[in-house]
């Protein structure tokens, strides 16, 4: 790929005054976009403190909230890419289940053979990535609309997980594996570290690399991207593989958290994930995505559940409230986002 420009003028140095401009604008833009979310989050925390006091506002409780969010949150990062690229992945929940099953079976095998526990992790990630690969190929090369292709995978992967596990729950006894996932690092559980790493890596990938830029481009205008020389189909396959990979990571995290692999892990996860990503401000039609928003989105949902539990409210009430909050959040989000872009 040629990198020269035909243009003969000497490269002018970057004028120094643009630098702060960039930072300012970025902050302004991102703050503008996420302001609604931050406000919603803050409100929720206030409600939590008012209703549940110290029980809510303790370090341990925050760790609980974030640890709960971390598994779903990892999948949200992958989903942010898929939705930004103009797709949707309904299969993530099933793929989480499938990869946890395969990984736990591997662990059972490992018990006899003498190999590293990392193999369990690798197997789970491979299973997830492979499922994403199949999704991607069916969508990009088969031309099947993403909603249907991943709906088929949702149904199929769950069935496969049940067949493989023979519908039984596999307990992982590998001590090194369990030890790793049980550990704390600097007082913060490993699961949360994994979430942080995946989120930061996702942010860099989306905002600072060619891959991310192309993901936005493909979601914004696939035909224009193709004409600009991007291999759109191949890129879509990569994006779904990425989503599958995060589902695989979540499968391992489920394994680490529950010690078991079962086909029921991740049931209906996709709805929470999609809700968090879209509430976070990623456009469902593609072309705009925000990892920060997705993370805020999942934290909001996870805090919501915590506040409800702290207040002894039944799931029925929770569900009604959740429905209202999803709509309110999307509305708020739209107000702030449009104000943000208008002020640009």
């Amino acid at each position: 790929m040629s990198e020269q420009i035909t243009q003969p003028a000497p490269p002018t140095p970057v004028t120094p005054d643009t630098r702060p401009g960039i930072v300012k604008r970025m902050l302004a833009g991102s703050a503008g976009r996420n302001l609604g979310l931050v406000i919603a989050f803050a409100l929720l925390i206030v409600v939590g403190i008012l209703t549940a006091g110290d029980r809510f506002a303790s370090f341990d409780n925050f760790v609980t909230i974030i640890r709960f969010a971390s598994i779903v949150g990892v999948v949200c990062v992958g989903m942010t890419f898929v939705i930004t690229a103009g797709g949707i992945d309904l299969s993530v929940g099933s793929v989480v289940g499938l990869s946890s099953v395969v990984a736990s079976l591997t662990a059972v095998q490992l018990a006899s053979a003498q190999s590293s526990w990392l193999l369990i992790v690798v197997v789970a990630l491979l299973v997830g990535t492979l499922a994403g690969f199949v999704n991607g190929v069916v969508i990009a090369y088969g031309g099947v609309v993403a909603f249907m292709a991943t709906l088929a995978m949702l149904v199929g992967a769950r069935g496969l997980a049940e067949l493989i596990s023979n519908r039984s729950t596999q307990i992982v006894n590998n001590q090194e594996f369990m030890g790793f996932f049980r550990a704390d690092l600097l007082g913060v559980p490993i699961l949360i570290w994994i979430f942080i790493i995946v989120a930061v890596a996702g942010w860099i990938l989306l905002n600072r690399t060619t891959f991310g830029r192309r993901t936005v481009a493909v979601g914004g205008n696939a035909e224009a991207s193709r004409l600009a020389g991007i291999k759109v189909k191949r890129h879509m396959v990569y994006v779904y593989m990425l989503s599958g990979l995060t589902a695989g990571i979540a499968g391992v995290m489920f394994l680490g958290r529950t010690t078991v692999g079962t086909s029921t892990h991740g049931t209906l996860l996709e709805l929470d994930v999609i809700a968090a990503v879209v509430v976070g401000g990623t456009l469902l039609i593609g072309g705009r995505g925000t990892i920060v928003g997705s993370v805020l989105g999942i934290l909001i949902f996870s805090t919501l559940t915590n506040v409800f539990t702290q207040n002894n409210l039944s799931t029925s009430v929770q569900n009604v409230a959740k429905g209202v909050i999803i709509v309110a959040a999307v509305l708020l989000q739209q107000r702030f986002a449009s104000r943000g872009s208008r002020s640009k």
Partner: protein, 327 residues
């Protein structure tokens, strides 16, 4: 209602001798205690009854502050609920896990934090995870149903036996089916047609209508769950079939009324007590208040209680109907 089997090893949670084992002493108000309760999503009559009975039981005692985090089929969420209880330092946790093995580690953590855990219905994978365990007998349910059908069909070695299971991916469904197969095998029968519904009325109706189409002649049918049984019966009704006997599961009041009336295919049901969590609440209270079970000589709460799975027929239905749950 329940038969008791005491466990053989003593738990580690109590450090002083229980003080009182009389009925009156146990009823007497003690220090107020906080009990955390978490169960699966009450998307099903039996589970709804479990939760309602637990809450009702706690309401009876002024010295219980029940914190309910009921309602999830997501192991990840339930773990975080238990973590919440640990953070709050509740006095005891009654836990009906969505998946026993998956909740084991967090239960161990609670126990290590000095909070006794009462495990209800779905068993943990480690004995260190609970101070006491109250179980329904899923395998026993299958055996009871199978044995009853064997008795009824004893003269017919070629009998067609159909089974309508609940959610297939739950371990309890697997256990029920295994017990059923075992008992049928003992009298030379086997399951000819098996379908699985999803514990819902609509699911029961849909799968049954398919099953009836697939099996034009049936001699006996075991339906795992009386809730989905409403749908099963609706489908049988709609198909106008009555050549077989049907056995239910769980033991809802509705099913028992049908047995009592005696004019439907429903001839029996196998009880799966819906009061397990309520019993769990009581045990938790006794444990924390350092009391024992009044009808036992033993001065400590037993480790393991397995509830009986009796068969309810028209002969004994009057005895069970009053305590049965309304779906």
């Amino acid at each position: 209602v329940v038969g008791l089997i005491t466990g053989c090893t003593a738990g580690t949670a109590t450090n002083t001798q229980p003080t009182n084992a009389s009925v009156e002493g146990n009823e007497a108000q003690g220090d107020t205690i906080v009990i955390g309760y978490s169960g699966p999503a009450a998307d099903h009559g039996w589970l709804g009854a479990i939760n309602n009975a637990a809450i009702a039981e706690a309401d009876k005692y002024d010295d219980i502050d029940l914190r309910v985090a009921e309602g999830t089929n997501d192991a990840n969420l339930q773990i975080s609920q238990v973590e919440g209880f640990i953070n709050d330092g509740v006095d005891a946790i009654v836990l009906l896990p969505t998946d026993g093995a998956a909740l084991t580690q967090v239960a161990i953590r609670a126990m290590e934090a000095g909070i006794p855990v009462i495990n209800v219905d779905r068993e943990f994978s480690s004995t260190f995870a609970a101070r006491a365990t109250i179980l329904g007998d899923n395998y026993g349910m299958g055996v009871s149903a199978g044995t009853y059908i064997c008795e009824e069909l004893s003269d017919n070695p070629d009998a067609v036996v159909a089974e309508i299971a609940g959610i297939d991916s739950l371990p309890l469904t697997q256990e029920r089916s295994a017990g059923f197969e075992q008992a049928l095998g003992d009298c030379g029968l086997s399951v000819t047609n098996r379908v699985s519904a999803d514990f819902t009325v609509a699911g029961g109706e849909a799968t049954t209508s398919q099953l009836l189409a697939a099996a034009p002649q049936i001699d006996a049918l075991w339906n795992h769950d009386d809730d989905q049984g409403i749908g099963v019966l609706a489908a049988i009704d709609a198909a106008g079939r009555d050549e077989f006997i049907m056995v239910g599961g769980a033991g809802s009041a509705n099913a028992m009324r049908l047995i009592q009336a005696g004019d439907s295919v429903m001839k029996a049901t196998v009880v799966y007590p819906s009061t397990q969590a309520a019993d769990g609440i009581r045990l938790a209270r006794l444990l924390v208040q350092n009391k024992a079970m009044s009808d036992l000589v033993e001065v400590e709460i037993p480790n393991r209680i397995v509830l009986n799975a009796p068969v309810v027929t028209s002969e004994n239905v009057d005895k069970y109907l009053p305590t049965a749950f309304e779906s």
